[in-house]
Structure formats: structure tokens, C-alpha cells
């Protein structure tokens, strides 16, 4: 193992600049002549726009320009798009109403974009924005997920009758019905997956500059995927030709999915900077983030499991209503479909599964991926249903899981819901997690708590997720508009140091360290001589960005493939220099060696020879710089068991997490310290969903949780420290043997926490967030 190579908890190379205040986030960037933009947003959830009068705003002090949807349309700027097609049960593609970046005659949610005001100072822009007069014709609003498609509901889009985006069935309804008809027992659960606001700590921002000489737009954006932004803004929104559009995403302060999407503000700022021929900067404040960032989750579902007399799962049936918000966000359709129902097998051998997802429009902010994206919804539903089934069968939750686990010798395992799992040892993770949690000692602890008048509960969740998104052929077949490979370039400089250009993007994940560790392991270059570069379409050749726990599993492999090319070329150069046959050259630890001798040449010397090719293999290209693309054969399937132990005060309903243990299979770990940090953060995201976070609209479509005072983020005093371990398996489809770790905690935690609470209270179910009020009410009901 190389020093600082694979498996070492190397301190992060990127930390220093953040620690001394030298991070470079989009809002930290200021350019000469910069103007400031404010968006005029709809205060109504659903209204026609009868007229917009910008006269007073345009005349206000310091105002540079005011633009509306008509101005955008007149310049041929096309509406925002949704990139994944889902086929509805009528054989037609999902309904996709137009999503103009600035409203065209109608607004459909509070925060919908009506106009942009650009001024010399931010204060002037804010003042002028209040002078834009909009005459609205207020319409009734639809906000409730469960009833949005009911008869007689207010219609939101003409293109989507009954507010339905798609009805998407999966599986054989009749076969599943027959299995239910002959089952020993049917367990059933109605549940809600609570709507969340993703809330990365850095609000979104955009800074656009237009160069009249090169006719190039440079957009600094808070994005997780700069090249994807460039592709969509160019090919679909007609902002500028792709080669005349540069997207820079510098340091980005967290994403968690919310910064994947191509947002209205980004398109409008990009267009406006050319229009006014001045740099234009927009930075969201937190309330704007609450009302205009894409939200997550928001499902209402009924789940049923058919069991035989031994507690084996015979069939599963799920009916889901998923809220997509007012318009389709970039990947909005994909989340409650492919990223959701394809995970219904979980860790189990359930042979038959039928699912129907009815996706609906409402007068709320668009809903899209948020850490986990579909997989937390699937896992919460399944792992809660399994606990209900255990209770119905009189089995321990551990026992019913063991009876239904996919056995270790059954991999690769084809589930009935499309996915073919790569590798897994679910009992190994479960065993380790139970030991870590001292599951066997729980009853003693529960008795002790009872003597103090407290209720103890323990719950587990055994999840599996599909990561390493994704094989292009598979997602293409499903209706994705893009490929999901990744690219890398590994460039030696003549002096022997290395620049690695990756198409993934780091916004907290530590790629600058993890990828450098890969290089030091594969090429033997000291880690301090390696620089990882990302987040600029003018530097990196291409890339699809970071989401779906894909950066290492896809992007890391692309880096490794570029390294293989360098080694192959280096052997030719070394063979020539060492006067040996190419086939006799071996490469290890940074040195090309003639096999069986001590004659060797360091890779830095080889790089120098490649750039100063005075004595060089005939016909070989100079230079030591290779790029590679990698398109995976399959998703990766991280899995694990999380165990949560809670104590509840029945007098107040306050839930305290006493102990949380997680054992995950992420395959091989490159930097265990970073992986553990990802797990911690993911778990707290999941604990937030389970205990604290609930995004609420009132019946008129006003967001009543639009600040950190109204929307409860997890804080340090609400969560414990964690016990983390691993039960790795080796995924055969991934050349590096890695699976991805960024979303696991957010997927595993919600059912573990809620299963612990229902166990403590002795109730069948409690909806999230399990606030003290909800828990207290449930405790009263149970008493």
C-alpha cells in the first residue's frame, strides 16, 4: 500500500483554504462593473398575470434594467426542461407543461419568477423590485399531494388534465393480486414521506459575465454539475452555443441534490448579462432558497406485503402519490419512478412486486432529488412495512429480515423490479450492527428506562440503494436525455507533478484528497505533487457531475483508466531509455523497472522524457497526458443495517437518540475518515427527516416553513455521536471495487429512527417528522 494511498485516512488537501477563510464561493467573487439582480416573485400560489407595469421600477435610482418573460421569449430563450421521460399507463410520455424561466401570463407557486430587476447596488435592486406592479387574478390553489388529482380539483396546467403528470405502473398486477389472494397474512401500511427542503448551507448564486470580444458568456454558478448546466443551457434553453458558454462552479457550499438542477435564475442571469452588457450577480437569501430551491420527497403511499405462514414475503404491492410541485424540475420525473420503485425489493427475496406511482402537479415549489432521491422514500416504506409485518406475524424484526434476506451466494441477484444487485452480504452487516448496538442487551436497558418512567425503543433498517449513477445504456432505455458516464484527464507536467481534471464536482465530499490518493496509489506520485481540478468547463474536458453517489464509482474509475494509459505509454518510454524490451518493463510504486534487475526509471523522469523527447521511441507521440471516459456496466448497490435506540419521555413526547449504530457495505474505502464523515452527515440528514424537518404549505399555497426559525434543521444538541463500521463486499462490476457512500445515511436513518419510536410506544406507525407533539399524541393513543 502506498503512503497516503488507498485505505489511508489522509487529512484533506482542500481543508486549509476553508479553515483560513480563503474558500472561493460564488458570492465571494466580485468583478469590475458588477450589477446586482433581484427576482420579483409571485406572492400567490396560483394566479393569472393580467398585467405587469415596470415603469416605476425602471425609473428608480440605480436601475439598469427590468425584464419580464416577454423579453426572454422575444430573444428566443426556451423554457426550462425535464431531462427524463417516464411513460404513463396510456402509453404516452409524462405530461410536461411549459416551464418558462420568467412567467408567461400565469404563476403557479409562491416564489415563481415574474421579473428580474438589475441595479447598480443590491439595495437599489431590492427597492426597485418593490415598484414592479403586477396585477394578479388569484386562482384557488392545490397543495395537497393525496387529493391533487381528485375530481373537481382546480386545474393547474392545461397540458396536464386532472393535475396528473404520469401514472406509472411497474410489475404484473394480476400475478401479484393472485399471490395476495392466497397469502397466509397481509400486512398493510399507509404512510407519508414528508416533504423536505434540502438546505445546503450556501444559498444558490449566479454571476454572469459577457465578453463582447469573444462573444462568450461566463457563468459562475453554485452547481454540482457544470458541464450538465452548459449542455442544457445551450442545447435546450438556447442561451448560447456550447463553445461560447463557460460554467464555473468554484467552491460550492454543499449540494445534496439541490444544486443539480438548471434553475430559472441561472438561465435569466446568463441571458441578462449579455442583454445589459454588464456582469450580473444574484445571490439567494435563505427565504428565497426555501421558496425556490427544488424540494424533496413528498409522497403519500399505501404499501402491502403478502406473507406465508413462515413469514416469507410472497408479494408486495405499493400505491404511491408523488408531488412534483408546480413544474417539472430537471430530474423531477425520475425520482419517484426509477429511483424509487426499482428499490422495492430492498434486501429481500420478495418474488413479486407491483407498484403504481401517480405523480401530480400542485401549486408548490418543484420537487426533485434531495440526498438519496427516491431511495429514502422506497427504504422508509419497505423497512416500515417489514416491521409491521414482523408485528403481524409475531416475529422479531431481526428474525423476519433474516428469513427474507437475499442469501450471500445468490449474487449477482436479479430482483423483480429491474435492478440486478452486484454484491452483498446482508447477514454480515446485520450481525455486526446488532453487536455494535448491543441489541441483545436492549431489554435490560428498556427495563431500566421504564423504572425512570421513560420509554425505550430499538429499531433497525436494512437498506440497499442504487448508486454509481449510472450505466448510460440503462438510463437511456428508461428515458434519460443524457449519458451518465464520467471523464478524467491525468496530466503530468514536465517537472513531474500531476494535475487531475475530473468531470465530477466536489462540494464537501473531499475529491481533491480521495482522487489524489487514487493517483498516489496507482502512479506512485507523492500526494503533495498532485492537484485535483474540477468545476470549470474551460478546464475539464467534460463530465456529468456529482450526484447519486457516483463520483468515485464512476469518476474515480475514469481516473484509474487514464492512469492505465499513462503506465502503458510510460513502459514504451522507459523501455527505450533503459534499452530494454517493452515487455520486460514492470511498473510499481512509481518506478518503471526492467524485470529482475535494479535498472529503473521514476515516472517523473519518464514524464520529463515525454516532454523533452530528445531520445525517444520512434513514432510515439510526445507528452504525458491521458484522458479516459468510463461508462459503468451496472449501478453499484451499497447496503447496510442501521440500528437506532431511542428514549422517549411520555410526558413531553421528546425523543432522544441514545445510540445509533451503522454498518455499511460501500465496497473498498479509499479514505475511511472521509467516508465516515459522509455517513455521519447522511444519518443526521435522515434523523432530521425523521424527527424535525417538515416542509408545510397552507391550503392557499403559502409556505409556512420558509426560514430556519420555522423549519427545524438538525442542530448539534439534537443528535448523538455515532458508532460506524463496515461489512464490505467486492462488487464485480466496478473496476475499483467501490460502491459510493454519500447518501447511505439519509436512506438508512429515517426507518431506523421511526422503527425505534414505534417500538418504544408500541404503536403501528407514526408519521415523520416525529415531533414531540406527534409522539406525545401517539403515546396518548397507545396508553
Amino acid at each position: 500500500m502506498a503512503e497516503n494511498g488507498i485505505g489511508v485516512s489522509v487529512p484533506r488537501k482542500e481543508d486549509k483554504r476553508f479553515l483560513i477563510g480563503k474558500g472561493n464561493y460564488t458570492d465571494d467573487i466580485n468583478v469590475v462593473g458588477q450589477t446586482y439582480a433581484i427576482f420579483v416573485r409571485s406572492p400567490h400560489a396560483h394566479a393569472t398575470i393580467n398585467s405587469i407595469d415596470t415603469t416605476d421600477a425602471e425609473a428608480a435610482t440605480g436601475v439598469v434594467a427590468v425584464f419580464t418573460g416577454d423579453d426572454l421569449a422575444a430573444d428566443g430563450i426556451a423554457p426550462l426542461i425535464c431531462g427524463v421521460t417516464v411513460t404513463s399507463d396510456d402509453g404516452e410520455p409524462h405530461r410536461a407543461p411549459a416551464h418558462p424561466a420568467l412567467a408567461q401570463g400565469k404563476v403557479n407557486y409562491v416564489g415563481d419568477h415574474v421579473a428580474i430587476v438589475i441595479a447598480e447596488t443590491l439595495a437599489q435592486a431590492k427597492d426597485a423590485a418593490e415598484k414592479v406592479e403586477v396585477d394578479y387574478g388569484i386562482l384557488p390553489a392545490v397543495t395537497d399531494t393525496a387529493s391533487a388529482a381528485d375530481e373537481g380539483q382546480q386545474q393547474i396546467h392545461e397540458a396536464a388534465p386532472n393535475n396528473i403528470c404520469f401514472n406509472w405502473p411497474l410489475g404484473d398486477k394480476e400475478t401479484v393480486a393472485a399471490a395476495f389472494a392466497s397469502a397466509h397474512k397481509i400486512s398493510k401500511l399507509d404512510l407519508v414521506n414528508n416533504r423536505m427542503v434540502t438546505n445546503p448551507m450556501e444559498p444558490r448564486a449566479a454571476l454572469g459575465e459577457y465578453n463582447t470580444g469573444t462573444e462568450e458568456i461566463t457563468l459562475h454558478l453554485t452547481t454540482q454539475n457544470p458541464h450538465l448546466h452548459r449542455l442544457v443551457l445551450s442545447a435546450f434553453n438556447q442561451l448560447a452555443p456550447e463553445h461560447k458558454l463557460r460554467i464555473v462552479s468554484p467552491d460550492v457550499g454543499g449540494g445534496f441534490g439541490a444544486k443539480i438542477f438548471i434553475y430559472a435564475e441561472e438561465l435569466v442571469v446568463g441571458w441578462a448579462c449579455r442583454k445589459v452588457n454588464r456582469p450580473v450577480k444574484w445571490t439567494s437569501d435563505r427565504t428565497e432558497a426555501f421558496i425556490s430551491d427544488a424540494h424533496g420527497r413528498d409522497h403519500v403511499a399505501t404499501a402491502e406485503m403478502a406473507l406465508d405462514e413462515n413469514g416469507k414475503f410472497l408479494a408486495m404491492r405499493v400505491m404511491t402519490r408523488a408531488n412534483l410541485g408546480a413544474y417539472l424540475s430537471t430530474f423531477g420525473t425520475m425520482v419517484p419512478s426509477y429511483l424509487y420503485a426499482f428499490l422495492f425489493a430492498g434486501q429481500y427475496t420478495t418474488p413479486l412486486i407491483y407498484s403504481e406511482v401517480k405523480a401530480v402537479f400542485t401549486n408548490t415549489a418543484p420537487v426533485d432529488a434531495s440526498r438519496g432521491a427516491g431511495r429514502p422514500e422506497a427504504t422508509f416504506l419497505l423497512e416500515r412495512l417489514v416491521d409491521v409485518a414482523a408485528a403481524d406475524m409475531g416475529l422479531d424484526p431481526v428474525e423476519i429480515r433474516r428469513r427474507n434476506f437475499i442469501p450471500v451466494d445468490a449474487f449477482p441477484y436479479q430482483t423483480p423490479v429491474v435492478q440486478c444487485y452486484d454484491s452483498g452480504d446482508y447477514n454480515a452487516a446485520l450481525d455486526k450492527a446488532l453487536a455494535l448496538a448491543d441489541y441483545d442487551g436492549f431489554s435490560t436497558r428498556a427495563e431500566e428506562a421504564k423504572s425512570r418512567g421513560m420509554l425505550r425503543g430499538i429499531g433497525l433498517s436494512s437498506y440497499v440503494e442504487a448508486c454509481g449513477i449510472a450505466p448510460s445504456a440503462a438510463v437511456g432505455q428508461l428515458g434519460a436525455g443524457v449519458g451518465l458516464w464520467e471523464s478524467a484527464q491525468v496530466r503530468f507536467n514536465p517537472t513531474g507533478n500531476v494535475q487531475v481534471f475530473t468531470g465530477t464536482h466536489s462540494h464537501g465530499q473531499g475529491h481533491e484528497t480521495t482522487f489524489a490518493q487514487l493517483i498516489t496509489e496507482l502512479l506512485g506520485v507523492p500526494i503533495e505533487n498532485i492537484e485535483v481540478i474540477h468545476g470549470d468547463t474551460a478546464k475539464t474536458q467534460f463530465g456529468m457531475g456529482t450526484y447519486g453517489s457516483r463520483s468515485l464509482a464512476v469518476g474515480g474509475v475514469a481516473i484509474a483508466k487514464a492512469c492505465e494509459k499513462l503506465i502503458a505509454k510510460g513502459k514504451k518510454i522507459a523501455a527505450h531509455a533503459l534499452e530494454a524490451a517493452e515487455g520486460d518493463i514492470e511498473f510499481a510504486d512509481g518506478n518503471f523497472t526492467i524485470a529482475g534487475t535494479d535498472k529503473a526509471m521514476n515516472i517523473a523522469e519518464v514524464a520529463f522524457n515525454a516532454y523533452v523527447p530528445h531520445s525517444y521511441p520512434e513514432g510515439l507521440e510526445p507528452g504525458f497526458d491521458e484522458n479516459a471516459f468510463f461508462d459503468p456496466l451496472n449501478f453499484s448497490f451499497p447496503a447496510g443495517t442501521h440500528v437506532c435506540e431511542v428514549e422517549i419521555d411520555p410526558e413531553t413526547g421528546v425523543v432522544e437518540i441514545i445510540k445509533y449504530s451503522a454498518v455499511d457495505d460501500f465496497g473498498k474505502l479509499i479514505n475511511p475518515m472521509i467516508v465516515e464523515g459522509q455517513v455521519h452527515g447522511g444519518i443526521v440528514h435522515g434523523v432530521g427527516q425523521a424527527l424535525l424537518e417538515g416542509c408545510r404549505y397552507d391550503s392557499e399555497g403559502q409556505l409556512i416553513t420558509a426560514s430556519f426559525m420555522d423549519y427545524a434543521m438538525p442542530r448539534a444538541d439534537k443528535v448523538p455521536s455515532f458508532d460506524i463500521d463496515y461489512a464490505p463486499t467486492d462488487p464485480p462490476d466496478n473496476p475499483l471495487g467501490v460502491k459510493g457512500c454519500g447518501e447511505a445515511g439519509a436512506i438508512g436513518a429515517p426507518p431506523a429512527v421511526i422503527n425505534a419510536i414505534t417500538n418504544a410506544l408500541g404503536v403501528k406507525h407514526i408519521d415523520m417528522p416525529a415531533t414531540p407533539e406527534n409522539v406525545w399524541r401517539a403515546a396518548q393513543g397507545a396508553a
Binding site: 476553508f18 483560513i20 474558500g23 464561493y25 439595495a123 457550499g253 443526521v684 434543521m713 444538541d717 455521536s721
Partner: protein, 156 residues
């Protein structure tokens, strides 16, 4: 417009500001000290914490004029040349940061916590004291470890 004077990270600074200018705007926009961040607009997240005359304040919640004639310390003022402050070093050693956005506020709050509670901090104290700082990345586990280690190192 009013003129204000203060010492920021030991350096005397002067500036002309609108009366409504917030301290964080003065630091970020006038002085270009962009290490202090704005993560919310309701004094909840703590990304903007700086020290004023040695005490932690949320610089988004006070006017720049209120810091007139004060000593202000921001994240940029902690390291001694290339040597990190012990609290900064502890955050690195314990992986107490991911995206880095909340980090300056966390560290400035941590210094205030040490000032008021000493160098030997238990987990419960640290967690209670950090409730005014929100982090979405780390789940706090490693921030708590970092503050504990940093506090100890500051006493050594």
C-alpha cells in the same frame, strides 16, 4: 454617509457606509473579507459569526456602525502566518469540515465557547453551545470532536 473606524484582525480600517449596512456586508463587500459567510437571514445559522471585542457576535444581525471603534476578529485573522490556529488545526485533524461554508462560523463560535467554558469541554456542553451554528454536511460528530481537541490544544 457615516464614517466608521474599527480594527479588523488587528488592522485599523475605516469606511463610509449607509446606516443600514450590516457588519457582515461591511466585512464582505467593503473589506473583501469573504471568509465570513451569510447562510440565512434570521440569525439562525451562525455562518457569519465573528468576534467583537473578544465575544462572538452574529455579524448579520448587527449594523456595521455598532462595531464602530471595536476590535473585530474574523476567520482570516486566526492563523499565524502559515501556522494554523490550534482550533483550525483541530478541525483539519478531526475532519470537522466538509463543504467549508459553515466552518468559519463554527470556529469563531468555538473560540468563544473555549473563552467562556475553559479548555476541558465535555460533549454535552459543546453540543449545547453549538446550537446557534447549523451544519448540513458533517452531522456534527466530527465538529464536536474538533472543538474538544481544539479547546485542549489551546490550553497546552
Amino acid at each position: 454617509m457615516p464614517v466608521i473606524n474599527m480594527r479588523v484582525n488587528g488592522n485599523p480600517v475605516t469606511g463610509e457606509v449607509e446606516a443600514r449596512t450590516l457588519l457582515v456586508q461591511f466585512l464582505r463587500d467593503n473589506l473583501r473579507l469573504t471568509g465570513t459567510h451569510v447562510g440565512c437571514d434570521t440569525s439562525q445559522c451562525g455562518a457569519c459569526v465573528v468576534l467583537m471585542d473578544g465575544k462572538s457576535v452574529k455579524s448579520c444581525t448587527m449594523l456595521a456602525m455598532m462595531a464602530d471603534d471595536c476590535d473585530v476578529t474574523t476567520i482570516e485573522g486566526l492563523a499565524n502566518g502559515s501556522e494554523l490556529h490550534p482550533m483550525q488545526q483541530a478541525f483539519m485533524d478531526n475532519h470537522g469540515l466538509q463543504c467549508g461554508f459553515c466552518t468559519p462560523g463554527m470556529i469563531m463560535s468555538a473560540l468563544d465557547i473555549v473563552e467562556r467554558n475553559g479548555n476541558d469541554l465535555d460533549e454535552a456542553t459543546i453540543r449545547m453551545e453549538l446550537t446557534g451554528n447549523i451544519c448540513r454536511c458533517t452531522g456534527y460528530h466530527n465538529i464536536v470532536k474538533a472543538v474538544k481537541a481544539g479547546a485542549k490544544a489551546m490550553g497546552d
